[in-house]
Subunit: 264 residues, 4 copies
C-alpha cells in the first residue's frame, strides 16, 4: 500500500516535527503563533512585512460584536455548556458566503482580473492602467447582474475605517502590490460606473491585502475563520461570565407570533 | 426591554470598537493577533512574559500530524469542498475530552488542589511542600480510580519534548508559578506513588503554564481549539494541493469486512 | 492488514446491502424510514409495539418552537445560505446536556437503579416495590446534591401533556416495562421526598419509554437528535420562506449595551 | 417591537402546538415520524402516495457504508466520546456538494428545464416530447462544460439498483410526474448525446422523485441529510460497540510518509 504524504507534522518517540522543523527545539518560544499560522497556510515562512499585514488582517476580522455567528455560538453553549468545541463550531459554520465569504470573494474577483492580465504580460504599472482594468471589471460585473465584492457596507456607509489603515500598513511594509492597487482602482471608478458611492469595505481590503501578502485565494476564507475563532472564543468566555443567550432566547420566546399554517 | 451587555465589540457609522479600543486607530498594526486573542479570552492585555508563554503554548498545540481531527477535517472537505468552514468545524468537533481535553483536565486537576490550599492560605513555597500536596492529590486520584491528567503519552514514553521547553520558557519569563510547580511535583512523586514511570505530557504542561499565565481554567480547551484551528487550516490547505482523504476512503473501502448482522 | 468490520452497509457493482438485506429489493418501499432508523440504532428490527412507541417519541421530540437550537440554525443559515448542512449541524450542536440531554440523563438514572436490582434478581413486580426503589433513588440524588432527571419543566409546571400520552401508548402496545414503571414511581414519591410538586417531563418520559422499547441508553441522545433533525429542517425551510434570523440579529444589535472593559 | 412569526411550534402551560395541531392529543401516536418530517419540510401533510415515495427515498439514502461522512463521524467520536451531537454534526458537514448534493443538483437541473416549459405551457405529455426536452438540456450542459447531475456512478457502472425500484414505487403510487419523466428521458438520450453509457444514479432519481412528490428543490439536500442522520447514528452506535476509528487512525499513522517542505 502506498503511504499518506504530508509535510505538516509527524512525531517519533523523542521528537515532534512540524513543517520540517523540530517543534520543541526550533519553534516553541522562537516562532510566534501568527507566524506559524501563515506558514501552515502557505508552506512558506512570511517575511516581516507579510507577517505584519497578516497580523493586521487577523486583528481586523476577529470580531464584529453581536453578529449572527457570535449569537449562534452563544446560543449553542446554552444547550451544550460542556462542549465548548461545539459552540465554537456552530459559530464558525455561519462563516459562509454572506459574511466571511466577502474576503474570499473579493480576492477571487481581483484574481480573476489579474490572472489573465498577468498571462498576457499586461499588469498595469500606473494608476491609470489599474483604473482601466477596474472599469472593465466593474462593467462586466454589472452586465452580468453581479455585485462587486468588497464594495459597500451596511453600517460604514461613508467609509470603512479599516480600509485606509490596512492599505497604509501594506504600503509601509512594501507589501502593497497589484491586488491592493486594483482594489483601490475599483474604489475610484465604481462611483462613476455604478452611479453611486460605495466605500471599499474592510472584508474586501483584507482579501486584497492577503493576496498581496502571498496567501492563496483558496485559503482567504480560512484566514477569516482563524480570526473569527479568536473573536468567538472571546464571546464564549464572556457568555460564561455574563450570559446573554438566555436573554435572547427569552425575548424571542416572548415575542413569538404563532401563525397557524393552512389545514393539514 | 433590557439591553444585551457586551464588552467585546461594537461599531457605529465611523468607527469600530474592540475591547474598548478603536479597532482601526489603536489595534490594527499595533497589537498582534496572539496578543488580541489572549485579551479576548481573559479581558486583560497580557504582559510580555504571559504573551510569550501563550505563544509557545499555541505553537506547541497547533498540530500533531494525521490525528483523527485532521482526518475528519480532510474527509469532510472531500464531500463539501465549497464549505471550508464545515471542514474546519468537523475537525474542531473532535477536540473533546480525549485529545484536546487533556489541557483543560490538567488545569482543572491542578486548580482543584491549589484552590483549597489558597483558601487555607497554605500554598507551599518550596518543592518539599509541593511534593507533599502532589502526593496527596495523586493518591486521591488513584483511590478514586481516576487517572492523573497530564501524565503519560502513547508515543513519547520517555518524555514529551515539549514539557521541559515550555517550563524553561515560563521560568525565563517569570511566569512559572504554583500551577507549574505543582505539575512538576506531580511528575516527581508519580513514579513512586503509582509504581510506574509516566512522563509529564505536552498537553498537560500547556494547561499548567496557561493557568500560571492567567488564563481561566474554563477557557483552557478554548486555547487548544485556537491552536488547532491553525493546524487544521494547514491540513486543509495541504489537502487542496495534495489530497489524502480519497486515499484513506479508498483504503478503508477496499479493506471493509462486511459482517452480516443476525436475521432481522 | 486487518479489515474494518461493519454490519451496516456495503455495495458492489450490482447491489447495495444494508443491515444484511438487499437495499433495493428488500428494503425500499417495504420498510419505513422510522423502522429502519430503529434498526440502525439497535441492530434489531422493532416489533410493531416498539415501533409505535419509537414513532411517538420522535414526534414528541421533533420541535419546541424557537428554542436556542432552532435560533442557532436559523442564524447560521443567514451567514451561510448555501450550506444547509452547516445550519443543521449548528442547530444539532446545541443538543447537549441541557436540553436534549435530559432524555439520556433520565434513561441513565433509571438504568443505574434498575441494573443492580436486575443483577440481584430483585426488580419489583408491583407499584409498592417500584415506589420503594424510587424513594431510595430520589433520596440518594438529593443527598448527593443532584437533580432527578426527568422531573420538572419551566413551562408545563402542572404537568407535561406528552407524559400521560406516551405512557398510555406504551401500555396499549405492551411495551411499558420496568423503566416506565420506575419513572412513574419517581413521579409518585418525589413530592413527598423533595417537598415540592415536580411533574414528570416529556424529555424524561421519552427516555424511559425508549429504554423499555429496547434502545440502549448510549443511543438515547441519538434518538433525540434524529427527532430534532426533522424539526430543524422545518425551521430552515420556514426561514427560507419567511426569515426571522435578520429580525433577531437586528433586535440584538439595536439593544446592545456596550460596557467598556477595564483599561487594557 | 414586531414579533417573530412561525407556524411550526409553540407551547403554553398546558399544551404544545406543532403545525397548528395539539402535539400530545392529535399527533403523538397518530402521525408517523416520517409523515411529520414531510409536513415540517413542506408545510403540507403528504397523501399516502407522496408519503410512500418519501419513505422509500429516505431508506435509499440512509447509508452507503464507510463513506467519508461515516468515517468523519466515527473519528470525531474517538476524540469527543461524550458529545454524540458533535460526531453526528461532523458527519453531516460532509453532506455537501459532492455526495449528498447530487440529489439537490439533479432536482435543480430538472427544475431549470421544467420551470420555463411550464411557464410557456409546453410541458410535454409524451415520451417523445420529454426526449426532446432532455436532449436540449443535455446538449446545453455539455456546451457549458457542465456535467449532467444524476448521471453515472463510480461503483454501479451498469445501473444503480435503486433507480428502477424508486421509479416503480412512484408509478404505483401515482406520484411519478414530469420530474421523473424528464429524468428517465435524460437516461434515454444521454448515451447518444454524450457518446457513452452513464446510468441514472440513485441520488439523482431521489431528487426527481422528491420533486414529483411535492418537495421544494431548496429542501432536497435537507431530505438527504435527514436520511443520512439515521445512517450516521447507526455508524456511531456500531462504533461504540466495535470501534473502527482507532484502526483507521493507526493505519494512517503507520503509513504516513513525511515529506519535508522546502526550507523555511
Amino acid at each position: 500500500m502506498t503511504g499518506y504524504p504530508t509535510s505538516i507534522g509527524t512525531s517519533d518517540t523523542t521528537s515532534i516535527t512540524l513543517l520540517g522543523h523540530d517543534l520543541a527545539q526550533d519553534l516553541m518560544g522562537k516562532v510566534g503563533f501568527t507566524e506559524l499560522s501563515y506558514w501552515l497556510l502557505t508552506m512558506r515562512r512570511p517575511n516581516p512585512g507579510q507577517l505584519r499585514v497578516f497580523e493586521a488582517v487577523l486583528v481586523a476580522l476577529a470580531d464584529h460584536g453581536f453578529t449572527p455567528t457570535a449569537l449562534a455560538a452563544r446560543l449553542t453553549l446554552l444547550g451544550a455548556p460542556d462542549s465548548i468545541q461545539g459552540a465554537l463550531a456552530a459559530g464558525l459554520l455561519g462563516g459562509g458566503s454572506v459574511y466571511l465569504g466577502v474576503t474570499e470573494d473579493c480576492g477571487r474577483f481581483l484574481d480573476s482580473v489579474l490572472a489573465p492580465a498577468r498571462e498576457r504580460g499586461q499588469v498595469p504599472d500606473d494608476d491609470a492602467g489599474f483604473d482601466e482594468l477596474a472599469r472593465e471589471a466593474v462593467l462586466a460585473q454589472r452586465a452580468a447582474g453581479r455585485l462587486v465584492p468588497g464594495l459597500g457596507h451596511p453600517v460604514h456607509k461613508d467609509g470603512d475605517p479599516r480600509t485606509p489603515v490596512l492599505i497604509a500598513i501594506a504600503e509601509q511594509e512594501g507589501v502593497a502590490g497589484p491586488y491592493l492597487r486594483l482594489f483601490e482602482a475599483v474604489g475610484r471608478v465604481a462611483p462613476q460606473v455604478l452611479g453611486r458611492n460605495l466605500p471599499l469595505n474592510g472584508a474586501g481590503v483584507c482579501g486584497a491585502a492577503l493576496c498581496d501578502a502571498g496567501v492563496d485565494v483558496a485559503m482567504l476564507r480560512g484566514v477569516a475563520l482563524l480570526a473569527r475563532t479568536a473573536g468567538l472564543l472571546g464571546h464564549l468566555a464572556e457568555e460564561m461570565r455574563r450570559p446573554v443567550a438566555p436573554l435572547v432566547y427569552h425575548e424571542v420566546d416572548r415575542a413569538t407570533q404563532y401563525l397557524p399554517p393552512g389545514p393539514g
